[in-house]
């Protein structure tokens, strides 16, 4: 190894060192610990644990609650991510066209982002309230019946998803907005001159130039969607009859209400692998596209 290469290696270590050690202490080690835990049965209170091999994983295969949570998670992810991104993109494009006139709306739409998820949940709990909630109040005023937004097991998951969308759209919009600002206006003018109307301008100028942003937003949104917990905890606690229990909430329930730590660890590992695979596929897909 040449002297400069050696020096480079040292520099690399020095620069990456702090981040790497932070990552390993707070992220990688806990994941490894969790992986280990998933092969044990552990009673948190007494501290007694026993190695049970794959039985946590095998138990999962026979656990209807796990499938229920997995199903809810799929619905939750598919329901919030594409819609949240599409709506955010649409708003960002509209705002980007008439930037000054829309600065009020930009603030209004971003507002939910800075409110904590738990607080958001409490606000919506009030909005959704069956008896006294503002939403049902409006429905009754316009002559429609009341809807049991959070109490009806067929609707509750969608009510929670709406809150997530309400919050996430603002976040996505800001990132899309930043991405849009980087696209030179001359490209749009050139496209206009070449005969492209709004639709084609979006397809040939906005969309391809926004691809790196979109890819980032998609990954972030997927991870968010898989991890969302607070709004469920605050609003429905996974119910009614498990209709809003996602994998993350199921993990929480299993670990901290049932104290079935090993099993919760096993479900966590499944979730972890799921998110890893999705992220990997996406990164590959988008970097191939950009090439």
């Amino acid at each position: 190894m040449s002297k400069s290469a050696k020096r480079k290696k040292w520099a690399l270590l020095i620069y990456l060192g702090p981040a790497m050690s932070f990552l390993s202490v707070f992220i990688i080690l806990p994941i490894l610990f969790l992986l280990g835990l998933s092969f044990f049965k552990w009673d948190m209170l007494s501290g007694i644990y026993s190695f049970t091999g794959l039985s946590n994983y095998l138990g999962m295969l026979k656990d209807p609650n796990f499938y229920n949570a997995l199903g809810n998670t799929v619905i939750y992810v598919l329901g919030t991510v594409p819609l949240g991104m599409a709506a955010a993109l649409l708003i960002a494009v509209i705002i980007n066209r008439k930037i000054r006139a829309f600065s009020f709306y930009r603030t209004a739409i971003f507002m939910p982002v800075i409110v904590s998820l738990a607080a958001t949940g409490i606000i919506w709990l009030w909005i959704y309230d069956y008896q006294n909630g503002i939403l049902n109040h409006i429905l009754v005023e316009i002559g429609l019946g009341k809807v049991n937004w959070l109490g009806n097991p067929d609707i509750a998951l969608f009510s929670v998803m709406s809150v997530t969308l309400w919050k996430r759209i603002g976040y996505n919009m800001v990132i899309f907005f930043a991405g849009l600002q980087v696209i030179p206006t001359q490209l749009y003018e050139a496209a206009k001159i070449d005969g492209a109307r709004a639709g084609s301008q979006f397809k040939y100028v906005t969309w391809p130039n926004l691809l790196p942003t979109t890819s980032f937003v998609l990954i972030i949104n997927l991870i968010f969607a898989f991890r969302d917990f607070s709004q469920i905890y605050v609003m429905t606690r996974g119910g009614p009859i498990g209709s809003t229990t996602t994998l993350v909430y199921y993990i929480y329930e299993t670990a901290f209400n049932e104290f079935n730590i090993g099993y919760a660890a096993a479900v966590s590992m499944v979730l972890f692998v799921l998110v890893m695979i999705l992220t990997y596929v996406q990164i590959n897909y988008f970097s191939a596209k950009e090439r």
Binding site: P184, K192, I193, A196
Partner: protein, 353 residues
């Protein structure tokens, strides 16, 4: 034929252009020339429909374009920074206007071949636009504009981002292409050399107002006002304040007389003479001045002289080079009065006999 009538555009309080009138004949190469910020690009963008006009009329083939969307105006434009679609290959860039205008799909490859041949782009047709050099990008931009044979071809300072040699080269190229395709062209530049070499006619703009429209020779030889006179030509034209009396006036301390001005009443004027119209002589009875600096400019030599604390600029051709003395030495000059142009002191306009 493109006709522009009373074109006026304001941006908030700033007037970008005001009462612009001109006609461009079919196949003519028309140049909008002026210093930066004079409103020439605005005029071009108004023709393209990228800006909405406050007042006036844009007429193409006897039809007003005012209410026509950019997309529907048969106008193509080359932008100063090319504005190629960075994610597309050169071929895709060239195909784009054809696709947008629903050209028959089977004909597209043929059209692309043709334009690629014309602009010598064949070897980089399948490269991504962002990976090209400046000159190549310039060709693609021109190609993308011409590929659909527009009625009007607009160019906004297309050569200003290139280095001098490439600029020269592409200038010739542009002239050749224009001859070949014969498309009505409006070309915006701040470079007088480009304007002179490319333009069939030139429109000179200053602060949004027309100064002069004419063929390059007219613009050079009889600038309509002092601004045009000073803006065109290198080195800058020589100006002398003087009094006109019965066709006679004093210039550089000697008397001169121009017959054609004899009928004009006495008034304060500015006499203007191009640097190449002052001759160096060695007869001994010419005008005396002192040589300050000499610069070689190709075949010619540019001289900066001093006479009565005033700078005088000269362009001396190769044949007379032997007469140039060393710097700081005395020079003897002669003026041909017929080459002197007189401008009204007040209005700064050319006095026409």
């Amino acid at each position: 034929m493109l006709e522009v009538k009373e074109l006026t555009k304001k941006f908030k309080q700033t007037v970008a252009c005001k009462d612009i009138n001109f006609k461009v004949d079919d196949g003519e190469f028309f140049v909008l020339l002026g210093p930066s910020g004079c409103g020439k690009t605005t005029v071009l963008r108004l023709i393209a429909g990228l800006e909405t006009l406050d007042r006036g009329n844009i007429i193409s083939n006897n039809m007003s374009l005012n209410e026509v969307d950019t997309q529907d105006r048969n106008v193509a434009m080359v932008f100063q920074n090319y504005a190629l679609y960075p994610n597309m290959t050169v071929r895709k860039n060239l195909e784009f206007p054809l696709k947008m205008r629903k050209t028959d799909k089977n004909r597209i490859p043929e059209i692309i071949e043709e334009i690629a041949g014309l602009l010598q782009m064949a070897e980089f047709l399948d490269k991504k636009a962002v990976k090209l050099s400046g000159g190549q990008q310039q060709r693609v931009a021109v190609g993308r504009a011409l590929v659909r044979k527009p009625e009007i071809f607009l160019l906004d300072e297309p050569l200003s981002n290139l280095d001098a040699k490439l600029r020269q080269h592409l200038r010739v190229e542009l002239a050749r292409i224009h001859k070949e395709l014969n498309i009505t062209t409006v070309y915006v530049t701040h470079d007088q050399a480009e304007a002179m070499t490319l333009g069939d006619r030139i429109l000179v703009l200053k602060k949004g107002e027309i100064q002069q429209v004419g063929v390059p020779e007219d613009i050079y030889e009889s600038p309509a006002n002092l601004f045009v006179a000073q803006f065109i030509g290198f080195p800058e034209i020589n100006l002398f304040e003087t009094e006109l009396r019965e066709g006679k006036f004093k210039i550089m301390g000697t008397d001169a007389k121009i017959k054609k001005y004899s009928k004009i009443g006495n008034k304060k004027v500015i006499a203007a003479i191009r640097p190449e119209d002052i001759e160096i002589i060695d007869s001994g009875n010419g005008i005396q001045a002192q040589l300050e600096i000499k610069e070689v400019s190709g075949p010619d030599t540019i001289l900066y002289l001093k006479k009565d604390d005033k700078q005088i600029r000269l362009r001396v051709s190769k044949e007379k080079r032997d007469l140039i003395p060393e710097e700081k030495e005395a020079v003897e000059l002669k003026i041909e009065p017929d080459k002197v142009m007189l401008y009204d002191y007040e209005s700064k306009k050319l006095i026409k006999p």
